[in-house]
C-alpha cells in the first residue's frame, strides 16, 4: 500500500476538522475526497502532505513517516496546495526552474513539464499575467516536476471556468496513465467521477462513505428522479400507486415535486397519463439519474456546493 492512515484527528480551537479518519490508498489508485467547503478535506490532505501535523493518529506513506523521513518523503510526493500564489514577477519557466533546483533537476525537465502542462506559449510570461486556469496548470507543473510517486491536489479546479477545468482534467488523465497515485480534493462531483476510481465522501471531519461511483450509488440509494412543478393539485394516493414509484416528496419552499422511481422509461409515461387524466398542466418536468450530490444530501443534509 502507498498510504495508510489510522485514527487521524485534528482540531482547531473548538472545531474538530478531522475526526478519527482511517484510510488506505493503494499504489496507482486515484482517490477523490469529495465534500462541501469546511468538510475537512484540506486539513486531511495537508496532514498527508506533511504541511500540518495531526493531534493524534498515524500516517504512513510508502512505509515511512513524516517524523523520521521528511526529506525522503518530500521527494516522493508532489503537491498543489489550495490557492498558491507564485512569485508574480517570475516567468513560468523561471518559476519551474526555481522549484526544479530544490529537487536538483536539470532545466531539460522544466521544458518537458512546460509541454505536459501545455504552457509552451506562456514560457516567458510573468505569473502576474497568467489566467486562473494557467496558474493552476503551473501549480500542477510544480507538483509533477520531480515525477512524484504520489500526487496530491487540493481543489485543483476551484474557480475555473468549464473549459479551463476540462483542460486540466485532460492533463491529469494523461498523468494518471503513468501509474502515479493520485489524491484530489474537490466539491465538484463531475471531477471526482471523471478522474477517480474511488470516491471518499467527507463532511464535518468524518468519512461518510467510500467506493466507486457505482458502488456508492448502489449501496446508498436506489432509483432515479422525476422532478416536476404543476398548476393544480395532483391526487397523492394515485401518484404513489404508479408502478415503479419508490418514493414521493414535495418541496414546500420550491414547490417542486419529486418521484424516486426504479426506471424512468417505464414510470414516466404512466405519470404523464395521470397528469393528463387529472386535468392538471405540468409547468416543468425534469428526469435525471441519481448523483453523488443526491447521495451526499441524503447522508449529510447538505449539498456539495454548500
Amino acid at each position: 500500500m502507498t498510504i495508510e492512515i489510522r485514527n487521524l484527528c485534528k482540531s482547531f480551537k473548538d472545531v474538530k476538522a478531522v475526526q478519527n479518519v482511517n484510510l488506505i490508498v493503494e499504489s496507482g489508485e486515484s482517490v477523490a475526497l469529495l465534500g462541501p467547503n469546511g468538510a475537512g478535506k484540506t486539513t486531511l490532505v495537508e496532514m498527508i502532505e506533511g504541511v500540518q501535523y495531526p493531534d493524534s493518529g498515524e500516517i504512513h506513506i510508502l512505509d515511512r513517516s513524516w517524523e523520521k523521513d521528511e526529506n525522503i518523503l518530500r521527494k516522493q510526493i508532489g503537491i498543489a496546495l489550495q490557492e498558491t500564489r507564485f512569485l508574480e514577477r517570475l516567468t513560468v519557466e523561471e518559476t519551474l526552474n526555481l522549484f526544479a533546483s530544490f529537487y536538483s533537476l536539470e532545466k531539460k525537465r522544466t521544458r518537458e513539464v512546460i509541454e505536459i502542462i501545455q504552457l509552451e506559449s506562456k514560457r516567458t510570461t510573468w505569473v502576474l499575467h497568467l489566467s486562473g486556469g494557467q496558474r493552476q496548470r503551473l501549480a500542477l507543473g510544480v507538483a509533477i516536476l520531480h515525477s512524484p510517486q504520489i500526487l496530491i491536489l487540493d481543489e485543483p479546479t476551484t474557480g475555473l471556468d468549464p473549459n479551463a477545468r476540462r483542460d486540466l482534467w485532460k492533463i491529469l488523465e494523461n498523468f494518471k496513465a503513468t501509474g502515479t497515485t493520485l489524491i484530489l480534493t474537490t466539491h465538484y462531483m463531475e471531477e471526482a467521477q471523471y478522474l477517480c476510481e474511488r470516491i471518499l465522501m467527507m463532511d464535518q471531519g468524518k468519512l461518510l462513505a467510500e467506493g466507486s461511483l457505482k458502488d456508492l450509488l448502489d449501496k446508498f440509494g436506489e432509483g432515479d428522479f422525476i422532478e416536476y412543478t404543476i398548476d393544480g393539485i395532483l391526487p397523492v394516493e394515485k401518484v404513489e400507486k404508479i408502478p415503479g414509484v419508490l418514493n414521493r416528496s414535495w418541496d414546500e419552499n420550491k414547490e417542486v415535486g419529486r418521484l424516486t422511481v426504479k426506471q424512468i422509461s417505464k414510470t414516466l409515461p404512466l405519470f404523464l397519463q395521470l397528469v393528463e387524466n387529472s386535468s392538471i398542466s405540468l409547468t416543468s418536468l425534469e428526469c435525471r439519474r441519481r448523483t453523488l450530490d443526491d447521495l451526499f444530501l441524503a447522508m449529510s443534509g447538505r449539498r456539495l456546493d454548500d
Binding site: E49, G50, V51, Q52, N71, R74, K75, I79, L81, E83, T84, R85, F86, L87, R89, L90, E94, N97, L98, F99, S101, F102, Y103, S104, W126, V142
Partner: protein, 369 residues
C-alpha cells in the same frame, strides 16, 4: 546547496528589479533625501529676520520710527512702503544678516508672531529702552533678539560687527552628520522591509508553505533572503556614498575595514530583528504594524536627522542602546571622525548579539505555514 542558494538569490534579484517602485524606494529615495536635506541645510544664503515695530503713539501707528532710518548700526538700509524697511548688518563668508522692520499695531503683531511671519515684535527706542516681545523658547526669535541688540548697540556702521568664521572643514557640516545616519537607516529599512516584509508577504500568499513542502532546507531559504538583501543593501550604500562623495565632497576619514565590520554587524542585527518580527505575522495589517512599531521609534530617537543629545538626559542612555543608534554612531564615527577599528568593536559585538538573539528566537517561533 550552492546551486539552490544561487537560484533563490537570482530569482529574488529578478523580482526586485522587475518592480520599478521598489527599485526607486531602495535606491532613489535615500539619494533624494540626502540631496534635499543636504541642500536645505547647507546653502541658506543671506539670513532675513522679520521684525514688527509697534508704535505707541496712535497718530503714527502705521509709520516706522525715525531712529530706525538713521542706520547707526546698519551697513545699508532700503525702504519700500510695501515690504517695509530693510537693514543689512555685518557680512561674513559672503553672507549678510538682514532685518526687515514692519510697522504694525499690537494685535497684528501678535497674530503675525503666532503665524511665524515675524520673529519678534518690539516697542520703544534705544534711548528710552526697547521692549522685545517673543517666546523665549523659540530659537529663531532668541537669535533675532540677540542680533538686533547687537545691531542697535553699534554707534555707527563703521564700528566692526562681531566676526563669525564658519567652520566648513570635512566632517562638521550637517550633510556629514546626515549621510551616515541615512546609511544606517537604509540598512534598517533593507532588512525590515526587504527581508521581514517579504517573508510576511510570502506567508500571506501561502508561498512560504509551498516552498517548505519541497526538500528545500528552511534555513537555506532564510539565508537566501538575508544574503539577497545584503548584496542589494551594499549596492544602495555604495550609491549613496558615491553621491555624497561627488556632490557634497564627503570623504571616509576612518578605516574601510572598520566600515565593513560595522556594516556587516548592523546588517546581522537588523536581519535578526526582521526574522523575529516576521515570524508570526499572517496578514498585511499586523505585518505593517509590527515593522512600523520597530522602525518608527528608532527613526525618531536614534539621531538619524538630528542629534539625540537634544532629548532629556535620562532618555539618552536608553537611546544609545537602540541598534539603529549604535549603527549610526559607529558609521558616523568612522566616516566623519575617523575612529579606529578598536573603537567600533564593542558596538559591533552588541549589534551581532542583538541579531543573533533575535534570529534564534525568530527561527524558534517561525510560522512556516
Amino acid at each position: 546547496m550552492i546551486k539552490i542558494l544561487f537560484t533563490l538569490i537570482l530569482s529574488q534579484f529578478k523580482i526586485f528589479f522587475r518592480e520599478p517602485g521598489v527599485v526607486f524606494w531602495s535606491f532613489g529615495f535615500p539619494l533624494l533625501i540626502a540631496w534635499i536635506l543636504g541642500i536645505a541645510f547647507a546653502n541658506k544664503g543671506n539670513t532675513l529676520h522679520t521684525v514688527a515695530v509697534v508704535n505707541e503713539s496712535q497718530d503714527t501707528i502705521y509709520s516706522l520710527p525715525e531712529w530706525l532710518f538713521e542706520k547707526s548700526g546698519a551697513d545699508s538700509t532700503k525702504y519700500n512702503p510695501e515690504s517695509g524697511l530693510e537693514w543689512q548688518v555685518g557680512e561674513f563668508n559672503g553672507k549678510q544678516t538682514r532685518f526687515r522692520f514692519k510697522s504694525m499695531n499690537e494685535d497684528e503683531a501678535t497674530i503675525a508672531l503666532k503665524r511665524g511671519k515675524i520673529s519678534l515684535w518690539l516697542m520703544g527706542n534705544p534711548a528710552a529702552g526697547i521692549k522685545y516681545h517673543f517666546d523665549i523658547d523659540n530659537t529663531e526669535s532668541s537669535l533675532t533678539f540677540l542680533l538686533l541688540e547687537k545691531a542697535f548697540s553699534l554707534k555707527s556702521s563703521t564700528e566692526p560687527f562681531s566676526e563669525i568664521r564658519t567652520i566648513t572643514m570635512p566632517g562638521s557640516r550637517y550633510i556629514d552628520f546626515l549621510i551616515p545616519g541615512l546609511m544606517a537607516m537604509s540598512i534598517m529599512n533593507a532588512c525590515l522591509w526587504g527581508v521581514g516584509w517579504s517573508l510576511i508577504d510570502l506567508r500571506i500568499k501561502k508561498l512560504l508553505r509551498r516552498m517548505v513542502a519541497t526538500p528545500l532546507r528552511k534555513s537555506l531559504f532564510l539565508v537566501s533572503h538575508v544574503l539577497n538583501r545584503m548584496i542589494l543593501s551594499a549596492a544602495e550604500l555604495l550609491l549613496l556614498y558615491g553621491f555624497a562623495y561627488y556632490y557634497f565632497g564627503i570623504i571616509i576619514q576612518g578605516s574601510l575595514l572598520a566600515l565593513l565590520i560595522v556594516f556587516l554587524s548592523g546588517y546581522v542585527a537588523f536581519a535578526g530583528i526582521a526574522v523575529l518580527i516576521s515570524c508570526r505575522a499572517q496578514n498585511t495589517h499586523s505585518g505593517n504594524g509590527l515593522i512600523n512599531f520597530v522602525t518608527l521609534p528608532m527613526f525618531v530617537l536614534s539621531g538619524i536627522f538630528f542629534n539625540y543629545q537634544k532629548f532629556p538626559d535620562w532618555v539618552t542612555p536608553y537611546v544609545e542602546l537602540l541598534p539603529l543608534t549604535m549603527l549610526a554612531n559607529s558609521l558616523r564615527g568612522i566616516i566623519t571622525e575617523g575612529i579606529s577599528l578598536y573603537d567600533v568593536i564593542l558596538p559591533s559585538i552588541g549589534l551581532v548579539g542583538i541579531g543573533y538573539v533575535c534570529f534564534v528566537l525568530g527561527l524558534k517561533f517561525f510560522y512556516w505555514h
